[in-house]
């Protein structure tokens, strides 16, 4: 074995299922490996390709596994370093059902099936692992689900990632009868198999369907005798659909045709082979993986790992929703509710661990979480307020809440919310204080703005209670709006913050991109486009004394009502904000990061133009702010 094979064996040893193998077995595999280099976007295999003689392990890079649903490519899995994929040749003889495509320059090891298969005989663990992996890679292969052994709590809803737009699970072994069977025979079949429908076929094509409803209305009423040929009572023609129909489409078809069952055939017409039948119940079952269920699961979860798993599914929900052009406002609402449930659960888990808190408190989210705009896994910002306690208890109480803060932020970090680089978190001594200290803090910030700009960050003015005492939030709310009233100095500060952001377009209407660093030539959408809108909205909402609205989009909508003279500008800003968020979210989902930097070259020409147009309202907003607050003092 040469040194490269040794290195490969070493690599495999660290990943399941290879860690179950002996070093001789590993050596055998490693020396038989073939190394495949995949350029970005290169396809390794696609749907309906003949099976390869090997399966694959990602050595470096990312490979996307996707399926086609409703003629659109949906990514169902992203394989990172060490994950295995392309297991179909082990278990099936037909062609690939998924497409594997490199998301970035990647290297994969091809392990010949002929080498690996003999090892399976002695390693039940490995076989199980492969089976499980195979099943989770293929949402349509539900039939194999029964065999897989899984100890994760999400087993039953493992497929829920594909959400509303998943391919449906349905009965693939429908009851069949021919038109000369009698009604009684058909009813007998249904009773024996506890099904409520039978497909009537002729030369392999479905010609009709008999359901409970038909039997009830036509036989039980005595209109027809029970020995009549079934062709007289069947509903005909039956509505047929393609194999990979989505939940949404199936629902629409049932409504449109006013039927309760759809017949699945190979090419979607009633002249081809029957593949199965979709009933209303299948639709209901599929909907069980909706956001409501996610929230329920969050409330039940007991560890950061479970929460992490749920957060991943939220990401998938967001991704598929965006791909289906669901309005972003809906997506944001749902996502932020789920995010909040996760935050709340994280605090609760810490309390379960530390014992009940010694005083009333409020855990408050700030920044993008506070604005309920967090679609991607960006960083966490928060602060903690506890009620005033007698001097002799103070140390003890503060100590408890600091611990609570540390535990919670650590949990959130595990889930995937990065720690705030500026330390704006409840675990920080500075931001875990008693209510009177916080009131002092806000008074200081807002009344002596000039001296206190050091630690003042505008994100402290976007806040939302996660868990704890509502009264504490109200108290902070009041102090802010009291102080904001006619406070020219404070608005000056916020106004200048909003305007200080670097402009997005150059004089010649070209995007200004990063000049150096790892994000060279990319467009910083967060600081150059989103922040000015967010800052502007916050400033104006405070100045108009509008309480309780944290979301930038709704803030603009509200401003349009409060200040009708400029309503057009506000509405444009609201729309622009949505579009920019969408671009950022798509970028973030694609690269699994915060989406802050946009690679303009990957955008289509239309999107680039749209992006440019979305930057125009920003200019108008700036002018409006300059005008309204007569910015002078700081500038």
């Amino acid at each position: 074995m040469n040194i490269i094979a040794e290195q490969i064996a070493e690599f495999l040893k660290n990943h399941a299922p290879f860690n179950q193998l002996t070093s001789e077995e590993l050596a055998e595999i490693a020396s038989n490996i073939r190394v495949v280099n995949l350029e970005k976007k290169q396809t390794l295999f696609k749907i309906n390709d003949a099976l390869h003689d090997s399966f694959y392990v990602v050595a470096s890079g990312v490979v996307n596994i996707s399926v086609i649903v409703d003629a659109e490519e949906n990514i169902i899995d992203k394989c990172h370093e060490g994950s295995i994929f392309g297991l179909r040749p082990f278990f099936a003889k037909n062609n690939y059902k998924v497409t594997a495509k490199a998301r970035e320059d990647s290297l994969v090891y091809a392990i010949p099936i002929s080498v690996f298969k003999p090892l399976l005989a002695n390693n039940a663990e490995v076989l199980n692992f492969l089976l499980e992996n195979f099943a989770s890679n293929l949402p349509e292969d539900r039939s194999s689900k029964g065999n897989l052994v899984s100890d994760s709590g999400f087993y039953s809803e493992k497929q829920s990632e594909a959400q509303f737009f998943q391919t449906l699970a349905y009965n693939t072994t429908p009851l069949l009868a021919t038109s000369d069977n009698t009604a009684q025979e058909v009813a007998q079949m249904m009773a024996e198999s506890l099904k409520n429908n039978v497909i009537i076929f002729e030369k392999n094509g479905p010609i009709g369907i008999v359901t409970h409803a038909d039997l009830a209305s036509k036989i039980a009423t005595g209109r027809y005798p029970i020995n009549i040929p079934v062709s007289n009572i069947m509903s005909s023609p039956v509505v047929t659909v393609l194999e990979n129909v989505s939940l949404a489409e199936a629902q629409l078809l049932m409504l449109k045709n006013n039927v309760t069952h759809l017949c699945v055939t190979i090419d979607g017409t009633d002249k081809s082979t029957i593949k199965g039948v979709i009933s209303e119940h299948d639709l209901i079952a599929a909907q069980a993986s909706n956001p409501g269920v996610l929230i329920k699961e969050i409330k039940r979860s007991l560890s950061s790992n479970e929460l992490k798993e749920i957060r991943k599914r939220l990401t998938n929900l967001i991704q598929s929703s965006i791909q289906k052009n669901i309005p972003l406002t809906h997506i944001t609402n749902i996502a932020s509710e789920i995010n909040f449930a996760i935050l709340k659960r994280a605090v609760e888990l810490s309390i379960l661990d530390l014992g009940s808190p010694p005083a009333r408190y409020a855990w408050i989210s700030i920044g993008s979480q506070g604005r309920k705009e967090q679609l991607l896994l960006t960083d966490q910002d928060s602060f903690l307020v506890f009620e005033d306690v007698p001097q002799n208890k103070y140390i003890e109480v503060k100590d408890y809440f600091l611990k609570l803060g540390k535990k919670t932020t650590a949990t959130l970090e595990k889930i995937g919310y990065e720690l705030c680089p500026y330390g704006h978190m409840g675990s920080n001594m500075m931001w875990c204080k008693s209510l009177s200290d916080w009131i002092k803090q806000y008074n200081n910030w807002m009344n002596a703005t000039r001296e206190n700009t050091d630690n003042l960050s505008s994100i402290f003015f976007d806040y939302e209670l996660v868990i704890g005492e509502q009264k504490i939030e109200t108290a902070i709310n009041n102090i802010i709006f009291e102080n904001a009233n006619n406070n020219a100095l404070f608005f000056d500060f916020l106004g200048n913050e909003a305007l200080r952001k670097n402009s997005a377009l150059s004089f010649f209407k070209k995007f200004i991109v990063e000049e150096e660093g790892i994000h060279k030539d990319k467009f910083d959408i967060k600081t150059r486009a989103l922040m000015p809108l967010i800052d502007g909205a916050r400033l104006l909402i405070l100045s108009y004394d509008i309480k309780g609205i944290n979301n930038t989009y709704t803030r603009f909508k509200q401003l349009a009502i409060a200040d009708p003279k400029h309503s057009e500008i506000y509405l444009n800003c609201a729309e622009a904000y949505l579009f920019l968020t969408k671009i950022r979210t798509l970028e973030g989902l694609k690269n699994e990061n915060s989406g802050q930097y946009i690679n303009l070259e990957e955008l289509s020409k239309i999107d680039r133009e749209k992006l440019k147009n979305a930057l125009i309202p920003m200019k108008e907003l700036e002018e409006l702010i300059k005008d309204k607050f007569q910015l002078t003092q700081f500038s």
């Binding site: 040469n2 040194i3 490269i4 290195q7 038989n32 495949v36 280099n37």
Partner: protein, 199 residues
């Protein structure tokens, strides 16, 4: 040029004759080659290490590889060098003629790929001559030239293997043995081949 005249009366070794017969067919197999030698001189220096991987269907075949240390007792002795490290290594060791023989058998009619390959080929040819064989008949590709062609670099500068690895973001290996170099060259070759659209 007049090689055939020089050799016309000499009888080639058996393995060489067999090697020559392999060229009746065109090969789809690439042999990624990296050698180590004691220096650059074709007369005085000798090869100490040969390492190679085969590339077929755009994949590196780990199994189809070649790796051997050449025992150069005479060279070491003449230059008063120690041979301890060679003795201790677990790798396959062969004498120069045996190593070249098995390498030629391994190589067959494959297309040679390497980094600044003409040096390796010249060194091997010099060694082959000492064994009464002719020169290598294989086509040879150079990743340095492929890189310059891809980017249309005309200046006469050579890119080191490290520079190329950095440019194409090939992961660093721990050591710099001939085998690891050959593997790196193989990865670079796959990338360049794809980018240049070679079939």
């Amino acid at each position: 040029m007049l090689d055939w005249l020089k050799h016309i009366n000499k009888e080639h070794p058996e393995f060489w004759k067999e090697y020559l017969t392999k060229f009746s067919k065109k090969s789809k197999r690439y042999v990624i080659l990296s050698t180590k030698a004691t220096g650059d001189s074709l007369e005085k220096d000798v090869i100490t290490f040969i390492s190679a991987f085969a590339v077929e269907n755009d994949t590196i075949m780990i199994k189809d590889s070649f790796e051997t240390i050449l025992l150069q007792y005479r060279f070491l002795h003449d230059n008063h060098l120690s041979n301890e490290y060679i003795i201790e290594s677990r790798l396959m060791k062969l004498s120069e003629p045996e190593a070249l023989k098995s390498f030629i058998e391994y190589l067959g009619n494959g297309i040679i790929v390497g980094h600044q390959i003409e040096k390796d080929v010249a060194m091997i040819n010099a060694t082959l001559e000492r064994m009464d064989c002719g020169k290598l008949r294989n086509e040879a590709l150079d990743i340095d030239i492929m890189h310059r062609k891809l980017h249309e670099i005309t200046e006469d500068r050579e890119f080191s293997l490290d520079e190329l690895s950095d440019f194409y973001k090939i992961q660093k290996t721990e050591g710099d043995s001939a085998t690891e170099e050959a593997y790196k060259i193989a990865l670079l070759f796959l990338k360049l081949k794809h980018k240049l659209g070679l079939k």
